[in-house]
Amino acid sequence: MDYLAHIGVLIAVYSILAVSLNMVAGYTGFLSLTHAGFYGIGAYVGALMSLHLHTPLLITLAVAVSLSGILGVLLALPALRLRDDHFVITTFAFQIILVSFLTNWTSITGGPMGLAGVPHASLFGWNLSTQTDYLIVTAAVAAFAWGISSRIEKSPLGRVLKSIREDDRLAASAGKNVALFKILIFAVSACVASTAGVLYVHYITFVDPSNFTVMESIFIVSIVILGGAGSLWGPVLGAVVLVTLPELLRFVGIPSAAAANIRQILYGLALVACMLWRPQGLIGEYAFGRAEKQK
């Protein structure tokens, strides 16, 4: 039971991350390789605040969200002047910088050793401790994140974002301030991603930089693309599939030493297969990277 709840928590955490990336990559059409970075910011803010200040969950979340939002805007300002591949490279660089920060700023982040003994979260006097407690809270936050993403998708704002994805010049010619919309959605996306970090660090009670490397960013991208970029449920479905798939491997009796590598191969294969045969993902409509770009 606890094991199932644990898988549930992971699915919820990755759903939050995928839903947040989907706003940028799916609706607006630019791929970001820095979402593990915002996830990490959430995790470190969560760890530091609860270790040193013993803040309740809601306050930690508020601080993490604000900080990520600000960093999101700061990153978006220069990066969004670039298009397509150049944008991806810039977010990649930001991701690398962030991890080196976490690894080397030993006095605050504990460096590669990380921070241990992060206390469990408390929410209105309720001390979360069991897997089930965390499942309830992370699932609630994931539902909230999904609600935000759904509300945006169905609004006129969502229509503008999709028009930017399809043809940003035309969107500008229709009077839309493309740069502003891009910065806005990037910031919202960063805010949402950071909540996943806060929840995760309270749950695991430990944090180190290895969880937030570019591999993690690629994993989040894989979830979104496999599930279906641009669709509402795609990222959630992607998270369910990519989190449970490697768990199933355990039951086939593959030695744990090989399992980790097989998992990486599996992710890679899933991504390649998806790009080749089903670029719109399992349930998506929008074929990622196949936009008919009109110059």
């Binding site: 509300r151 006129p156 999709k162 035309l170 500008a172 010619s173 229709a174 009109q294």
Partner: protein, 251 residues
Amino acid sequence: MTSLAGAQSLTKHFNGVVALADFSYTVAEKEILGLLGPNGAGKTTLFNVLTGLLAPDSGDAKFKGTALLCQPVHKIANMGIARTFQNLRLIRRITVLENVLLCFKNQPGENLLNVFFRPGLCRRHEAVIREKATELLLTAGLADKANDLADNLSYGQQKLLSLLCCLAADAELLLLDEPVAGIAPEMAERILAIIADLPNQGKSAIVIEHDIDALKGIAHRMIFMDAGRKICEGVPDEVLNDPRVIEAYLD
């Protein structure tokens, strides 16, 4: 007639190729100005300069007394200039109706805070523009396609849709780049009728078109340009009988 927009001495070179050379024009309120000229005469370049997609090397352009140059594309659009593109740009993977809706100005639902904190306002405004958009589609005869993807329309219907988008934007000046080139005669009729009706709604247009007969039917005034220069200007009959125009078109 009062002048709505104009430009003085616009000049633009692309790597030594002249696209616009000392080009000036004005367009009055409720006037349809036809723009004629062989391929490469600089007609589309002019549109790109006027809408902020290209910066000219020198010159000056105004719209309702405000300087246009050096303004970002979206600001110029919001001042009241809408355009269509020669190579037909539409948001292809959203529906026909959504394409029209997208072009309405000042939508509260495009503001993130409104989306979450004033959903009622957004919904009401959306209902209003949805009604207007449906009406536009109805009058243009595209209502039955409203929920199809824009990509699934025929070429002529797509051109019609891009014109409807300019109407939805409620722009005072429409820049139409070959609105009827390459489409079936009856669809061309429909499009030309909409353009001819623009002055009645207080709007002006500059129309680029190679189909001289079509242009003659709607334009109040014409400019013939070649190699970035204005060759002649006047009422349609005058321009079309100018020996330089005859030479360019009949040779």
